[in-house]
Amino acid sequence: MKWKKICSLDDIVPDTGVCAQIDDKHIALFRLAATDEVLAIDNIDPFSRSSVLSRGLIGSVGGTPTVASPLHKQRFDLRSGHCLDDESITLTTYATRISKDAVSISLA
């Protein structure tokens, strides 16, 4: 696996997201304060085609962490990328790693 360093953990306010640019991809990274981890999925909202998911609200459904699109509130499972409000849609998820406060992500 090849890791690419994105930012330091402090660059992400706890329980919010940021958007990273890798080649021409827009990827959303979310920092979950409760479990101290960072999860990554596509940033482009498949419903509006806008690059906004990192600006959605983090939440949970059952035990699963989710993000709700800031435009029309569809929820996405942050671990699997599945859209909980439209079975036909699944976003790509990306592996992440936090080492020495640096957040990296793998595209492989």
């Binding site: 990273a20 640019q21 890798i22 806008s50 600006r55 959605g56 939440g59 949970s60 962490p65």
Partner: protein, 843 residues
């Protein structure tokens, strides 16, 4: 193993396939479906919602992969052109010939276009498919006037669509009244008045004889009486004709006025062929609604499954609709056509509503009803008729506005076999069983368990009543939790936060909740924190709670950019102020528009542009306008006594004072205010949460008005107040609302939910009946004293500014945002325009 061929993949054809699958008949049989439209089945009943932005995908009735997964062959865009009954084969338009054992005709119907010369001119449409709507939309772009031929249910629905497309709309009806099939003369007149008052031109008793070139508009319609009407767009909606052409050419029996004749098993005159849905004709009748079609689909599936057989014995065609915003319902024998029928009607000229019941000769049973303007009694009347529940001793009581005991027919009065949902044949007994045996406690699970209320949705209110009633009986509290993370209502959370002095979401979750929170409870908590403590929204422990609008202090637009709305108190602005806004908008290439709230909105700012734009605005003396917040928006003013010859007081001065007093106040929903200088009411104060109208002696205070989706006129709360008293009352009123309202509940809805209503509110606010007024005033003065402009505080805090960038790992701005120019300004590119721009840049 048999081969079933289904012709038509519309609502009923698809439902039939679902019935087969639910009986596992797809496993051992070969199923082939032909559909001539360019897509698989969709919800035609909701077709008009296409105009409100619902997409073709959202209208689809077919979950992706459904046909493939169940090994059913769906042949889209393929039309059957012939049936050969001898060889038991069908021929499709690509020439293929396919044999069947059983054939099911679900070919639906087509709109009837009267044979008028010129009816095929460009700009003449029907209203049946998604393609029809696409064509109407694109033609309407260059039209001013639209006309619907046909004043029935569908015609009025089409008229509504034309009006929403911004056209001056007319309805031309051949009969002397609207909805001639469903309702009687009086009701037709009442409906006409209501619809005319909405600005739709109604022309009844008009036979169109010709359509030719217009002088000023595209078409001219010429009527038999010599009158004329010029229009750009014509939609024919003069009834439907069953699609029986295939049946006719292969010699099946037809009904007298068309339609494929069927018996009580839905079988045609050929025992191997069935017909279901709108193409079928039973006992000389066509059924132009979806529920009877679904019923027929079930009957045929049961028959093929050799199981207990339901028989088709006609169908109740009662309907309740909102046509052009007017509630209209027709139940059973609305026309009083049955022998011995007696009627009773109320024609309420004050609110323009009309109600009529049709009862049996002995006055014992309800046979039918018509309701216009107010359909609140629909569920009850329908159940009374269907279940033959005896009428009260004065039958008219059931539609009289007085709330007599007998009138409110609770769920307990319904027998267990009462059909609640006619789309899915769900009885009250089924619902009660599901609640008792499957432990169901909410509407969503009840829907997925029994399918109730998942068809036309008309039965949802009654279903909810039965559910609540049943839960109450079992001693289960009806769940009013905010969401899965908090078992409290907003009011309860507010109380906890205030009394326990909770300042962070973490603490709130730990003490009273579970999980991580969600998009419902986080903003609710954030709003309560702000109402109580007024700390900065973007403080680190609050940032993650804010909806994106609050997080970036601007409203997110469809393309991910934001709007910028500086506060313009009372709508008063200096020429220099205007020039500043203009200069900034020009510099950052923003789209500008005057809003409905008397200020200027600048659209199209990317996140990274927000801080520099706001810095320039703040340096020029502007403050945030809170257009993004659930908080005070604007205080509209009229020019008032300073200039106006009628003005009684300085309405602009007061509006500015009020706007500065309450700016930044966070509340359960947004707050709007207005001050008018006299009763001519040029600032529309009676449509605001809080309105003030100046009088000779002071001010009249109005509360709980609303524009928007469900307009409500404000109530006159107090008269001729002096300014100090007025402000004291407003302080108390707002704080009491903030304490007790539900999340996202405007003051208008809150007022309607208050026990005791306006009188109660007067007691609390004017007479301090709860002994809380000094507390309310204190809380308000704390919020007012701790106000700071959120943008100013943000600009001055480098930590907060850091968050305003699109990429965390680069300084570039969002390359996914694309604009085009229109009328000299930018706007977001449409999907097609985006593709084009992207293709050009990569080429």
């Amino acid at each position: 193993m048999s081969t079933y061929i289904i012709i038509g993949n519309g609502m009923v054809g698809h439902r039939f396939v679902e019935e087969l699958v639910s009986k596992n008949l797809h496993i051992d049989n070969n199923i082939i479906v032909f559909g001539e439209e360019p897509r698989s089945a969709y919800d035609r009943v909701q077709l008009s919602s296409y105009f409100n932005g619902t997409t073709a995908n959202e209208l689809s009735l077919v979950t992706p992969g459904y046909y493939e997964e169940n090994s059913i062959e769906l042949r889209i865009k393929e039309r059957v052109t012939a049936i050969n009954r001898e060889t038991q084969t069908v021929t499709s338009d690509n020439g293929e010939i396919i044999p069947y054992d059983t054939l099911i005709l679900a070919t639906g119907s087509v709109p009837f276009v009267p044979p008028i010369s010129g009816n095929d001119r460009e700009g003449c449409f029907v209203y049946r498919t998604i393609e029809d709507l696409e064509a109407i939309t694109s033609h309407a772009k260059n039209s001013k006037i639209g006309t619907v031929v046909g004043g029935g249910l569908l015609g009025l629905e089409a008229a509504n669509a034309l009006q929403n497309l911004g056209l001056e709309t007319h309805v031309v009806e051949f009969a002397p009244r609207l909805m001639a099939v469903q309702i009687n003369d009086h009701a037709g007149e009442c409906l006409r008045n209501k619809i005319e008052s909405l600005g739709v031109g109604i022309h009844t008793s008009k036979a169109t004889s010709e359509i030719t070139d217009g002088k000023n508009r595209i078409h001219k319609m010429v009527f038999a009486d010599g009158e004329e009407l010029e229009t750009d767009c014509i939609v024919f909606s003069a009834g439907i004709r069953p699609r029986d052409e295939l049946a006719k050419s292969c010699g099946l029996d037809l009904g007298e006025r068309g339609g494929i004749a069927i018996d009580k098993h839905c079988r045609t005159s050929d025992p191997h062929i069935y017909a279901i849905g709108e193409c079928a004709c039973w006992n000389g009748k066509i059924f132009g609604l979806v529920a009877p079609g679904y019923h027929m689909a079930r009957i045929v599936a049961e028959r093929l499954d050799h199981c207990e057989e339901t028989l088709f014995k006609g169908f109740d065609m009662s309907t309740k609709l909102k046509l052009l915003g007017v509630d209209v319902a027709s139940i059973g024998d609305a026309q009083a056509a049955r022998r011995g029928a007696r009627t009773f009607a109320i024609n309420n000229e004050i609110d323009g509503s009309y109600a009529r019941i049709v009862v049996s000769k002995n006055l014992k049973y309800l046979w039918g009803a018509v309701l216009i303007g107010d359909c609140s009694t629909y569920d009850m009347l329908l159940q009374m008729m269907k279940n033959r529940i005896p009428l009260p001793s004065n039958p008219q009581d059931v539609i009289l506005p007085a709330t007599s005991e007998e009138q409110s027919l609770g769920p307990d009065a319904l027998p267990d076999d009462a059909t609640i949902c006619s789309c899915h044949n769900v009885t009250k007994g089924d619902i009660v069983d599901a609640i008792k045996n499957d432990g169901i406690v909410d509407l969503p699970s009840l829907k997925s368990c029994t399918k109730v209320a998942t068809g036309c949705g008309g039965c949802a209110t009654l279903t909810k009543k039965i559910l609540d009633n049943e839960l109450e009986k079992q001693g289960i509290a009806v769940d009013t939790s905010l969401c899965e993370h908090f078992a409290y209502t907003r009011q309860e959370l507010y109380h906890l936060i205030r009394t326990e002095q909770i300042h962070s979401f973490g603490e709130l979750l730990e003490k009273h909740g579970t999980g991580l929170g969600c998009e419902i409870c986080k903003p609710t908590a954030a709003s309560i924190f702000a109402s109580c403590w007024n700390e900065h929204l973007l403080d680190t422990d609050k940032a993650g709670l804010q909806d994106t609008n609050d997080y970036y202090l601007g409203n997110m637009q469809k393309d991910g950019t934001y709007s910028v709305v500086p506060r313009v108190p009372g709508g008063e602005i200096t020429p220099d102020g205007l020039i500043t806004i203009g200069t900034i908008a020009k510099k950052y290439n923003l789209y500008t528009k005057i809003t409905g709230g008397q200020r200027v909105d600048m659209f199209g700012a990317r996140v990274d542009q927000l801080p520099p734009i706001w810095k320039e605005l703040i340096d020029a003396g502007f403050e945030t306008g809170h257009a993004y917040g659930k908080s005070l928006r604007t205080v509209k003013s009229c020019v008032g006594s300073t200039w106006c010859r009628y003005g009684q007081q300085d309405s602009v001065g007061l509006a500015i004072e009020l706007e500065n007093r309450y700016k930044g106040l966070r509340s359960p929903h947004k707050l709007k205010m207005a001050v008018s200088g006299c009763t001519r009411e040029c600032s529309e104060a009676q449509s605001k949460d809080l309105g003030v109208i100046a009088t000779e002696n002071g001010y009249n205070m109005y509360v709980c008005g609303n524009g928007g989706m469900r307009p409500r006129h404000a109530d006159l709360f107090a008269e001729d107040l002096d300014k100090d008293t007025l402000i004291r009352y407003i302080d108390r009123f707002f704080m009491f609302y903030i304490r007790t309202a539900d999340k996202l509940q405007r003051t208008s809805v809150w007022m309607e939910s208050l026990d005791g209503g306006l009188e109660y509110l007067r007691k609390v606010v004017m007479h301090d009946s709860l002994n809380i007024c000094s507390q309310l005033e204190e809380e308000m003065s704390y919020v007012i004293d701790s106000y700071e402009c959120e943008w100013k505080a943000t600009i001055n805090d480098p930590e907060k500014i850091k968050r305003f960038r699109h990429f965390v790992n680069s300084d570039e701005s969002d390359n996914n945002v694309l604009f085009v120019e229109e009328r000299g300004q930018i706007r977001p590119a449409t999907a097609d325009e985006r593709e084009l721009q992207l293709a050009n840049t990569s080429a």
